[in-house]
Every structure is written in structure tokens, then in C-alpha cells.
């Protein structure tokens, strides 16, 4: 694995996020929506907790994840610049990894300003810092899965809208899985519960870091990126 190549691609993609309106739109819209939900309930509930942040973010990310990543690969397919990348001494998985990390970094910068809430709440009340750290860790992991899936969605088409819709569909299905468990036989339920993103997130959000959850997230990210790599490699044999 050539880390230098991943670094170059990561830097280029992150730069182009911030050179275009994408980064600013994502960050501003996310903060406005989250801010509204957070502040409107804060004094009503009268509890010093960041639960709104941790509950709302995965839900918002259902849309923001695919929106942030939809152009990452499909755009390069459309303009033909992918051909430039493929004819340089760079491997497909280095391209995918670099791009994924750039999207993940943008997501990190999107979450960063929500630390204001943490500061605000610790000033006016007492906050369980452990749970907050766990919550943020969980958010980063959920984000990684959503974004990796969206990178895959972007790799299968040269149309950004198609990429967005496919990614949204997969991510939404995984997110909703544990909400429909109720209707399913329990034997199937256990498997689906394990696949569901939300089930693992609720553990981490409570501040419980279980290796099973970490393995789940890591393998979901790994599998999605692997599939995206396979899609890119397939073109050689088309």
C-alpha cells in the first residue's frame, strides 16, 4: 500500500470540497437544522445532555452523506479524469481510500462546530464527558459507514443524481432495519439487528465501547470500499 498516493488524493479532494460550495453548504445547513432542534428543546427538557446532537446527526447524515460524496467518483467518470488516474501508478483502492478519507474529514469538520454545544452545556450544567466522547466516537463511526456506502454508490454511475439516490436507498435501508424488527420472526430478527446501523450506534452513544460494534463498523466500511474498488477494477475487463 502506497500511503503517499492516498495522501495526495485525500489532500486534493479535501481541497476541492472547500474550493467549491459543497463544504460550506453542507456545514451551514447541517448546523442550522441541528441548532434548531438542539436549542428549542434544551431549556424545555432542562437536562444537561447532548442527546439531540447524537440522535439527530445520523438522521441528517442519511441525506448529507450521499450528498457530500455523490460527485466524488461519478464526476470523474463523467469528465474522463478517472482515465488520467488509472493510467498513473496509482492503485484503485488507493483512489477509493483517499476519496473516502477526504469525505470523512469533511464530515469531521462538519461535526466540529457542535463542540459549542458541549461548551455551552458544561457551563450551565454538568455533563457526562465520557458519554459525550462515546457519542462523538459513535457519530464518526456511523458517518464512516454512511460515507463508505455513498462512495460505493458514486462509483457505480457517472450520474450524480443516480449516485445520490442509490446511496440514499442503501443507507436508509440499513438505518431503518431495526425499526421493522418488530414485524419479523425472531430468528431473522437477530441477524438483521446485527446488520442495522442504529443498533450498534445506540450502544456507543451510551458510552459503551464494545469490540463487536467496532468490528461491525470496520467491516461495513471495509466491505463498501472493497465493493467500490471492484467496480473500478471491472472497467479493465469491460
Amino acid at each position: 500500500m502506497n500511503f503517499a498516493n492516498i495522501k495526495y488524493i485525500f489532500r486534493k479532494e479535501l481541497k476541492s470540497f472547500f474550493n467549491s460550495p459543497v463544504a460550506y453548504i453542507v456545514i451551514v445547513v447541517y448546523l442550522v437544522i441541528l441548532g434548531w432542534f438542539f436549542t428549542s428543546n434544551l431549556f424545555l427538557n432542562n437536562m444537561s445532555t447532548l442527546r439531540t446532537v447524537f440522535e439527530m446527526t445520523p438522521f441528517l447524515l442519511l441525506f448529507f452523506g450521499p450528498a457530500m460524496t455523490m460527485r466524488l467518483i461519478s464526476e470523474e467518470k463523467k469528465t474522463g479524469t478517472l482515465e488520467l488516474l488509472f493510467t498513473k501508478p496509482v492503485k484503485e483502492y488507493e483512489i477509493i481510500t483517499g476519496k473516502f478519507l477526504a469525505a470523512w474529514a469533511l464530515y469531521f469538520f462538519t461535526l466540529l462546530p457542535t463542540l459549542c454545544y458541549y461548551i455551552t452545556v458544561t457551563i450551565i450544567g454538568t455533563l457526562d464527558t465520557g458519554a459525550v466522547i462515546g457519542g462523538y466516537l459513535g457519530l464518526m463511526l456511523v458517518g464512516a459507514v454512511f460515507l463508505a456506502i455513498s462512495v460505493f454508490g458514486s462509483s457505480i454511475t457517472e450520474n450524480q443524481i443516480v449516485a445520490f439516490i442509490v446511496s440514499l436507498f442503501i443507507v436508509f435501508a440499513l438505518f431503518m432495519l431495526d425499526k421493522v424488527l418488530f414485524y419479523l420472526p425472531s430468528s431473522l430478527g437477530n441477524i438483521l439487528e446485527y446488520i442495522s446501523i442504529d443498533y450498534h450506534f445506540s450502544n456507543i452513544a451510551r458510552g459503551v465501547i464494545d469490540s463487536r460494534d467496532i468490528i461491525y463498523y470496520a467491516s461495513a466500511v471495509g466491505f463498501s470500499l472493497f465493493m467500490a474498488t471492484v467496480v473500478l477494477q471491472k472497467r479493465r475487463w469491460a
Binding site: A4, N5, Y8, I9, K12, S16, N19, S20, T79, G80, T81, E83, L84, L85, F86, T87, K88, P89, V90, K91, R235, R236, W237, A238
Partner: protein, 317 residues
């Protein structure tokens, strides 16, 4: 041997884009890759640059196989794809730097290579502009600069002059010719004068097969030896062009005489012969004999256009 292609076959579904072709390119050669649209030029180039994998056959660049030593090959090759795709939101220097990094140019060398390429390709005034703002000619130069940034031994250019104005075409051609002194260059085109102007060898490819391969002069010689002669004469008005062409036909070995135009006394003919015999002397004698005023007598060599048309249309029939 710089590039070696052996029994290369590539099909898309049932359609064979490239069908069992073999050729070699020596270093220092500028090879023109000619063919009608869809003949398999781009496919062949994409295989040499490791973008596509062949179904059958071997391709080696500087002795390295495109399949087993793909990364090594990609370091040796500079490639300008058809349509010249570029990142329009980057400025010229950023783009060159990014390309240099991915081409594994050693870090300390990068600024020097960038400076050199900006100079060679005449990009000094544009280097801080976004590529999206540049005209087509400048974009083409950026593409070329990026293809050469790692000083590759082999340059593969897919229609490098498409969409350029005549001045730019001349510039790019002389640039390619200079490069060809130290590098191996393959360039594809369907503009024939371009090949004549820049290449020292041509491969004509049609429907996935090589139909001609050799230096341009050799191809011209090997084509079946007919000559084309232009004749312009001034004759008394009462002798029509038809009458004169019958008289011209009396010379043996003339096959076709066609009237190009006729304005009062001045008539112009195109004469085609069946063999390589030079009949200009006979024509001159004929004019003297008949008392015609000879205005023009000009022999045309079979042009690359003719060769190209013959080779690529015969197959279709």
C-alpha cells in the same frame, strides 16, 4: 525495443475492437496511428497505458509487461487521452503538482519539473489561472505538460491537436517533433497531413486490424504504382475538351482522362496511368505536335490520403 505488441486482441462483448494486431516501436520513433473512427486506435492506446486489459496477447513497454508490471509501465508512459480530460477547478500549477506527485516524481524534483514544463509548453502567463478558464489550446498544452511531467520514456498522445487553431497545431507539432528526438511517441489522429508533418512511421488500422505499417515514403511506393498527372493546355476554341481528351488517350498506359474544368481555350485534365511509367515526356511531345500551348504539367505522388482511402474502404466493400 521500446514498445512491443504481440497478437493483441480486445473485444467489447461480441465486437472485436482490436483483432490480433502485432507491432513494435523503437525508441526515438514517432509513430502515427491512423484509422477511421472506431478502428481501434484508442483501444490499443488504452491497453498500452494500462487503462484496459487485453483479452489476448502481450504488450510490453521497455521490456515490462502491462499486466504483470502494470505500475512500472505506468511510470514509464506519459498519456494524453482523447478529449483531454482535466480537473477544471484546479489551477495549472496545482494540477501539474498533483500529477507529478501521483506519477511518483521525487519530491525535491517536482518544482523544477513544473517550471520546465511550464516553459516548454508556453504556459507561463496562465500558470495561476484555473484550468476551467483556459481556452481549448491552452488546455491542450496543460494536458501535454501533465503527460510529460515525469519525463517519461514513452509518450502516447490520442489526437493531440484536435480542436486547436492552425497556429497552435503547428506549435504542438514542432513540440512533438522535438520530443521525438529522445522519446518514443505514438500519436493517433485522423488528420493525415499531421502524420506527414510529424511522424517517421505510420500504422494504418482499420476494423481492428493493421492494414499498413511502414515509413510514409515506403507506403507511397508500395501502393500500386499508378501516377496522377495534372495537365493544363490552351487550345483553339473549336477543339472542345472532349475531343482533346480522346487525343490524349492515344498515349499508351493512360487509363483515365477526366476533364477538371474548361474555360474557353483553357482546359484542365487529370490523367491517371496504370503503371509507374513517366508519361510527361509523351504529353509534352503531344502538345508540341498538336500545337497546344502547355500551361501546366504536374505529377502528383500518391498522397497519404489516397493510401488511406484505398486501404480503409476496400475492406468495407
Amino acid at each position: 525495443m521500446s514498445i512491443l505488441v504481440r497478437n493483441l486482441t480486445k473485444s467489447y462483448g461480441y465486437a472485436k475492437a482490436v483483432d490480433d494486431i502485432s507491432f513494435e516501436v523503437h525508441s526515438g520513433e514517432i509513430l502515427g496511428f491512423l484509422g477511421p473512427n472506431g478502428a481501434g486506435k484508442t483501444t490499443t492506446m488504452r491497453i498500452i497505458t494500462c487503462y484496459l486489459s487485453p483479452n489476448r496477447g502481450t504488450v510490453q513497454v521497455e521490456g515490462r509487461d502491462v499486466h504483470t508490471e502494470s505500475l512500472e509501465v505506468r511510470k514509464l508512459v506519459g498519456y494524453l487521452p482523447e478529449q483531454n480530460p482535466l480537473y477544471l477547478d484546479m489551477n495549472v500549477l496545482e494540477y501539474l503538482e498533483y500529477t507529478a506527485q501521483l506519477q511518483a516524481v521525487a519530491g525535491p524534483m517536482i518544482p523544477r519539473r513544473m517550471k520546465e514544463m511550464v516553459e516548454v509548453c508556453g504556459l507561463a502567463e496562465m500558470k495561476h489561472k484555473d484550468i476551467g478558464q483556459l481556452s481549448k489550446g491552452y488546455r491542450q498544452r496543460v494536458g501535454l505538460a501533465a503527460a510529460m511531467i515525469h519525463d517519461p520514456k514513452v509518450l502516447i498522445l490520442d489526437e493531440p491537436t484536435s480542436g486547436l487553431d492552425p497556429n497552435q497545431i503547428v506549435e504542438i507539432r514542432s513540440l512533438i517533433q522535438n520530443l521525438g528526438k529522445q522519446k518514443t511517441v505514438i500519436l493517433s489522429t485522423h488528420i493525415l497531413p499531421e502524420v506527414q508533418a510529424t511522424c517517421n512511421r505510420v500504422i494504418i488500422i482499420n476494423r481492428g486490424k493493421i492494414v499498413a505499417d511502414g515509413p510514409i515514403q515506403e507506403l507511397q511506393r508500395s501502393m500500386h504504382g499508378g501516377m496522377k498527372i495534372l495537365l493544363e493546355v490552351e487550345t483553339p476554341e473549336n477543339q472542345g475538351a472532349e475531343l482533346i481528351s480522346i487525343q490524349i488517350k492515344s498515349i499508351p498506359s493512360i487509363e483515365v482522362v477526366s476533364v477538371l474544368n474548361e474555360r474557353h481555350e483553357i482546359k484542365k485534365f487529370a490523367i491517371e496511368t496504370s503503371n509507374a511509367a513517366d508519361i510527361r515526356k509523351d504529353l509534352f511531345q503531344l502538345c508540341v505536335q498538336k500545337g497546344w500551348n502547355l500551361l501546366e504539367l504536374h505529377m502528383e505522388q500518391t498522397s497519404l490520403e489516397d493510401i488511406f482511402r484505398q486501404l480503409t474502404q476496400d475492406v468495407k466493400k
